[in-house]
């Protein structure tokens, strides 16, 4: 079980309200990702759920029980911190066993659970080492192990991969997804990286200045962003926004076109521009095209290798049914 309901919760630090009234429903077994730019309140929201911060008003329900006033340890949630927060003077075994020891479980049961968790996480050979003797990925796994042995109602991850190098991050992303498949426990995952959000989530919650901008599955957010902020945040490289004469043609204040929905041509197309930079990644080529009447260069993604260079004149054509239209309130026009 791991159903969490947030009901009109707010959080203020002094006079500053970082989370305006907010409702959210997280179902049992879901992998929910909170994503947003730094300072959007996503970590605060996670800490409110964990109980490490007190809500200023509103209720938190966990499995139908009001948990607003329940201390963190009694909420049945386990958290993995950004810095891993391993206990440096204890061996890996003792780190993983710590929550069990605090719960007063007998030694034999502790050993069995630690051994089981270590097996799942490939830590069996490292149980007698100290955290300082482990690599970043291994420390990450120890932190997850310490969370698993508690058999929590839900796991909370606070930007767990941001201290790892790029290759390891992809690995750990897969491992966490696999863990979710096998445990089927609710997971709440905070990140600023929209790639992590898109690849791991069942449900993404996009936050901006403490407000929920949109909740939905990754593809829902990709195909039908509710407003300009979500449209710009989800998708990589980010969506191009065009206003003025480009937008009036479509009866909108702003239109958005994703880089992958633009086709380039030497000879003819809807819009004309000059190539500023072209990035060749092998599988893809990204062109940054300067156009008259557009402040930022328009990004175009083409597959394979195409022979455009700096200064070349190109013609761009958007795919007709992939144009997102926004009104002057930055909201999506259906």
């Amino acid at each position: 079980m791991g159903q969490i309901t947030l009901n009109q919760i707010t959080k203020s630090f002094g006079d500053v309200q970082v989370i305006p009234p907010l409702d959210l429903q997280i179902d049992d077994g879901e992998f929910v990702v909170f994503v947003g730019p730094s300072g959007c309140g996503k970590s605060t929201l996670l800490r409110l759920i964990a109980g490490l911060e007190d809500v200023s008003s509103g209720d938190i329900n966990i499995d139908g029980r009001n948990a607003t006033e329940v201390p963190p340890a009694k909420r049945g949630l386990a958290m993995v911190f950004q810095s891993y927060a391993l206990y440096p003077h204890m061996s890996v075994r003792k780190n993983i066993a710590f929550p069990l020891r605090m719960a007063g479980i007998d030694k034999a049961a502790q050993d069995a659970k630690v051994a089981a968790a270590a097996k799942v996480l490939n830590l069996t050979d490292y149980l007698d080492r100290r955290p300082g003797q482990l690599s970043g990925g291994q420390r990450q796994r120890v932190a997850i192990g310490r969370a698993i042995v508690r058999e929590p109602a839900a796991f909370l991850f606070d930007e767990p991969l941001s201290n790892l190098d790029a290759a390891l991050r992809v690995n750990m992303r897969l491992e966490i997804s696999e863990l979710h498949q096998s445990l089927k426990t609710t997971m709440i995952y905070v990140t600023h990286d929209q790639v992590e959000a898109m690849t791991m989530a069942d449900k993404i919650v996009v936050l901006h200045a403490g407000r929920i901008e949109q909740v939905g599955s990754p593809l829902e957010l990709y195909h039908t962003p509710r407003n300009k902020f979500v449209a710009g945040f989800i998708g990589s490289p980010k969506m191009n926004f065009l206003s003025g004469r480009f937008a009036t043609e479509f009866d909108a204040a702003t239109i958005g076109v994703r880089p992958e929905h633009l086709t380039v041509s030497h000879s003819d197309g809807k819009w004309v521009g000059k190539v500023a930079v072209s990035e060749h990644l092998g599988s893809d080529t990204f062109l940054y095209v300067d156009m008259d009447g557009v402040d930022e260069p328009v990004t175009v993604r083409s597959t394979g290798e195409i022979g455009f260079r700096h200064g070349d004149t190109v013609h761009l054509t958007p795919t007709a049914d992939k144009i997102h239209r926004f009104d002057n309130q930055d909201l999506r026009i259906a």
Binding site: A50, L52, P72, A73, L77, A78, M79, F81, Q82, S83, A85, L86, Y87, P88, H89, M90, F98, P99, M102, A103, R146, R150
Partner: protein, 290 residues
């Protein structure tokens, strides 16, 4: 082109400093050693003669020596106990956010700036004096007989005075150590179900171990040679009740004018200090390894 030549030049250039430091240490040490084998009394100058181990025999069989040795160990141990426990508790308290934190922290550190003679005299005359002292007033206010600290519990009183001086030092070091503890570790422990006592025992104390070691080592060095506090309060008395090794050596050389006996005591003190140092390093030295 570095290496050989520059190394030789470096040795040549630091050698005056090394020689000076060596002389600074060797000359007094060898003079002490030399005097300790002489019959050397300031009242009969010019009559020094070689006596072999006699000075050592007298010093080591003197009942005052054992009293002083016990007092020294009690003094060091007592002050360490009070300052470490008190320091940890004060550091925990000062680590909490509260109004006027900066001023309180400065006030806490203040006793460390008061020189030993002054603080000992303040304690002697303004607190512990059985007639005019603050403690006597309290006792009388409560209808009790005032307690004459310095004559009835002389060693305990000195331990109290010295501990008061060293408490800020321990507090300061332990407070900075506590502040360097990663708050996420404490939060993780809280999520893991550890209450405050458990967090203190399993997370904070291990984190503080290294700083506690440093405090013990530094304080021991200074506490073995406590002198001014004894000189201005009890003069080592009554009897030998508050005489430590340092004070005994002083009394031997400058009150009894027996330079030879005092020097022998000094050599014994050096040996004992080294024994204490070896024990300390054995017991707690591993905490200093990374």
């Amino acid at each position: 082109m570095a290496t050989q030549h520059s190394r030789a030049a470096a040795r040549l250039m630091i050698s005056p400093a090394v020689l000076l430091l060596l002389g600074w240490m060797i000359i007094p040490l060898s003079m002490t050693l030399y005097f300790s084998f002489l019959r050397y009394n300031l009242l009969i100058p010019g009559m020094e003669e070689w006596t072999g181990w006699t000075n050592y025999e007298f010093f080591l069989t003197d009942p005052a020596f054992f009293a002083a040795l016990t007092n020294t160990l009690l003094l060091v141990g007592g002050v360490l106990l009070i300052t470490i426990i008190g320091g940890v508790l004060l550091a925990l308290l000062l680590d909490q956010p509260f109004w006027g934190q900066g001023i309180v922290r400065i006030l806490v550190i203040a006793p460390f700036f008061v020189m030993p003679t002054v603080s000992a005299l303040v304690w002697k005359n303004m607190f512990m004096n059985p007639v005019n002292g603050l403690f006597a007033y309290f006792a009388k206010f409560l209808g009790l007989q005032p307690f004459d600290f310095l004559s009835h519990a002389p060693l305990f009183s000195i331990i109290l005075i010295v501990a008061w001086q060293w408490l800020p030092f321990a507090t300061l070091i332990l407070l900075t150590a506590l502040q360097s503890l990663d708050s996420e570790q404490l939060e993780a422990a809280e999520m893991d179900g550890a209450n405050f006592l458990n967090r203190f025992v399993f997370i904070m104390v291990p984190h503080l171990a290294r700083s506690i070691t440093v405090v013990i080592l530094i304080q021991t060095i200074f506490l073995l040679s406590v002198f001014a506090e004894i000189l201005v309060t009890t003069n080592g008395g009554p009897g030998y009740a508050s005489t430590n090794l340092t004070y005994l050596i002083y009394a031997q050389s400058l009150l009894q004018f027996d330079v030879g006996g005092g020097s022998a005591g000094g050599v014994v003190a050096i040996i004992l200090a080294n024994i204490v140092a070896i024990f300390l390093m054995r017991m707690i030295g591993k905490n200093l390894e990374a």
